[in-house]
Symmetry: C2
Subunit: 116 residues, 2 copies
């Protein structure tokens, strides 16, 4: 991070929150992988993109941990789509992680406010 001057900061800033972000996107309804990618990309508005490879790694991790379940869509023709559904365990972890996020956020806010 902290390049000469330009961009490239913002890479690691979302790190550690990827799984929680994915779970957040899946709260409302099932989504397929690329759809999640686009949802995050659009919400982030250009910068702060989470790369596809990062997300697919996250899907595998979440599935392995039983926080999401995957199933193939029934697209008869055209590209296949793999959908993800959040599990009860996933919702529990999500709630917990949102709490952790808020705590982290407040700590960083405090530290960057550079108080004594």
């Amino acid at each position: 991070m902290t390049e000469e001057l330009g961009d490239a900061f913002a890479s690691d800033l979302l790190r550690g929150h990827t799984d929680t972000i994915v779970l957040g996107v899946l709260q409302r309804r099932d989504r397929y992988g690329f759809e999640i990618y686009k949802a995050i990309r659009d919400a982030a508005g250009g910068d702060h993109e989470i790369k596809e490879a990062t997300l697919y790694a996250a899907y595998r991790r979440l599935e392995k941990d039983g926080l999401v379940e995957a199933y193939w869509g029934d697209e008869t023709q055209g590209g296949r789509r793999k959908y993800y559904r959040i599990t009860d365990a996933g919702r529990a972890v999500f709630r917990r992680n949102v709490g952790a996020w808020r705590a982290t956020r407040d700590i960083i806010d405090t530290l960057l406010g550079s108080r004594d």
Copy 2:
């Protein structure tokens, strides 16, 4: 992350912000390494600790990039202390990174609010 259930989340959540946090702590006045460590640990209140090794790595990185300058304190007896002073370049990067942090924070807030 996302262990069975317990703790251990909170490790990677500060990741990527370490350098900026250190710069933030140095805004007001020079501090020595261990002092910065304690300031962050106290602000974080138990959890969300940034480990010593992480910080010393950050100091080296910041010094290499010219964002801080280091000098030894004049403690005649007792343990030596290495002080860090933020440079003008460091202040510029800090301002920029605070902006990046706010943007990141808002994005995560949005995504974890799980809107459509």
